[in-house]
Symmetry: C3
């Protein structure tokens, strides 16, 4: 593992190693020491949460960060090429963590520089550390990644997160339920891919009656902007809001995940349930990112 | 002490402990080690100086910070609630230091998250670490907080700083002189409060002849915007500008304090006097904030 | 050495000490430890690259930074004087590193505060750490600073960098070639200065045939905005673009330097040549700045 650009680059063994390392970091069994090491956080598209998570990960390992965010790259304004910007940052930083609105830009970066590159989201394409922290959260709460029933709810069409997660889970004999409005269903290319791999999935228009046998309920936001007609949005939105009352008959071990930020797709009365796990999930992101950086910088 | 939201939450013993700890940190007797600890600095209202002071405090103790300032919270733009933002940051940070234009927001934050919260200013309400560093500066220069004569000058009506300070000092048998234009006098509710506690105070319209028996002269800025008629401002402003010549007959031990930034209410010819103490006062803010963070994070 | 404001303040012995220290830091012979030390980075004019370089330098020595960049000084907005801002930052930071669009501002800062001040660029005036890293790069690649043939190419009239470099090299028996369009030639005051010091230099309009005996080729950008008539720019620009093919007959030891960012004055086909050194040059900036900060903070 020299970079992390896409979940597709990771073998099952790679993922196991990452999750094991995250677990050891969380428990204190491993205490990485990145004193004097510097991560370059290049966030060409702002994302407070993801940046904080990486920033924290680095600092909890005694490392440091230098941060370029938004449009603050004054050299680019002077006409510097993207490749030159990257090559220059690579003279300063031991690892580059990059978020960009442009698909493929993280892959490109990894080909241009000699230091490890982590994709912290490249447009609609990939956000692999989100998938990793989701896997970590699932394994931590269920004790395993194998043979689980997992429901994905909300915008399954445009949601980068659920695409990565569905693909990542496909190697663990997962059984999926895809719950979404008709026009926001999981894209065909992902469903075809799952079929080829003999992964079981079914599609639903409604959570009602369809979540009681799940181990994981992964909720995502449906953006109003996806609807051409605002009335269509108002019609469906209630259907995809998780309420506490809907959790009465679910399995004991069910955990509700959400990539955050949440708007109103999970009612706040769910927050105190034992099933709510979305804030701990955010914390797991720090351990997972610590593990990744630790490994990419040569940690065993 | 689990949070610091308001000076009113602190007992005399709490204040003593804080100031003692600050003194020990300044002298090197205590050397807190916050390696791998992360403070979340949430400055929803920018304040360079206060942010630098907390940032420095954390780093001088070998700790780290993650900083959100101004309107940069991209999750809020996506519709995330304030409570969710706080809960998420609390997954990353060991302590939250928050400044906000909204009164009561620090108290609210402390009720929402499980990590300690420090109020770094919430609108016109409270700015307790400013009061603490003022107390520390007074004690350090006078050897005691008890039985002092303290003059507060300038805008006593709208000044959050002087309100907190007057209340904080009221338990130390202080004798106050309030010096201000008539319509910028100390508010009645504070004067009533002082009377109930049998605290002596007198009010003046002028510094002339009224500062020679003081131990501390605390100067604050009078903002032009407070005056409906600019001519009124021009009439009074000279009266409340401290000049070097006015310090000829003051007590040896008099120290001039100011919360900074100063505009022109202290003439620069005062800066070299032995009575000038406002820059050291800023430095004391670092020691005081170190002590506070150290204690809130479990330091003895 | 208490500050670094201008290259003119440095003796040959000072420069030797700085470059020796940088070499020892690069090799690991010296490992400065700035734990709990804080550098105040005041970038009143944004410059991503220079800021990153200083930020990295501090952090690689286990130190910390507090950063004010652009127009974010909220105290200045409230009417605080520049001197007061500096004096306040000096209460927090152990060293001030300052970039400003205003000539002379770094010198002024050094007169106002008690902590060391480093000039990270003050308008068209000075950028001494750039000159130092250039010297370090030359010495590292040539084994010496003495008796070299050095070509400076591009905008020699307005280029702060080449002015500082020419002056800095004038004490090492350098032989210069100045290559530029006629109206962008090296200013008379610098040529007069070199003549007085008996430094040899010749001027050329063209790289062709004039770079084969050089040890160092220092390329700078010609800004389109310098030309009143855009056609004039189009006429000359090709002449000052370094192509790989132009390096066929150069000396084995020739290194091509550039302060970066590059736009198109060095063709990217040069990047893979053994002569290309501009990215390593950027890395050398970190070592040089580490050495400077280390020395100014009392490191031997």
């Amino acid at each position: 593992m020299e970079n992390l650009i896409s979940m597709r680059d990771l073998t099952k063994a790679d993922i196991k190693k990452l999750l094991d390392t995250a677990r050891k970091i969380e428990s204190g069994e491993i205490l990485p020491d990145l004193e004097r090491k510097v991560a370059g956080l290049l966030f060409f598209e702002p994302s407070t949460r993801t940046m904080f998570s990486f920033d924290t990960a680095m600092k909890r390992m005694n490392g440091q960060t230098i941060i370029m965010s938004g449009t603050k790259n004054t050299s680019a304004k002077k006409g510097e090429s993207f490749a030159d910007t990257l090559r220059t940052i690579a003279q300063y930083a031991d690892i580059i963590i990059m978020r960009s609105p442009i698909e493929g830009s993280a892959r490109y970066a990894s080909e241009v520089v000699d230091v490890p590159v982590v994709n912290a989201g490249d447009g609609a394409n990939q956000h692999p550390t989100q998938a990793l922290l989701d896997l970590y959260s699932i394994q931590k709460t269920q004790g395993t990644l194998e043979n689980l029933k997992i429901g994905l709810v909300g915008d399954l069409r445009f949601g980068r997160t659920v695409h990565s997660l569905a693909q990542a889970l496909s190697i663990y004999n997962t059984e999926f339920k895809f719950i979404s409005p008709k026009f926001l269903q999981m894209p065909s290319y992902i469903k075809e891919d799952l079929k080829e791999k003999n992964v079981k999935f079914t599609e639903y228009l409604d959570m009602d009656g369809n979540i009681d046998d799940l181990d994981i309920l992964y909720v995502t936001r449906i953006q109003r902007e996806r609807f051409a007609d605002p009335e269509d949005y108002e019609k469906v939105r209630g259907t995809y809001v998780l309420q506490k009352s809907m959790l009465e008959n679910v399995k004991e071990n069910l955990k509700v995940l959400h990539p955050l930020p949440r708007v109103d797709e999970i009612s706040t009365d769910v927050d105190d349930c034992k099933h709510a796990y979305y804030f701990q999930q955010a914390k797991n992101g720090v351990y997972t990112r610590e593990a990744l950086i630790h490994i990419l910088l040569g940690g065993e």
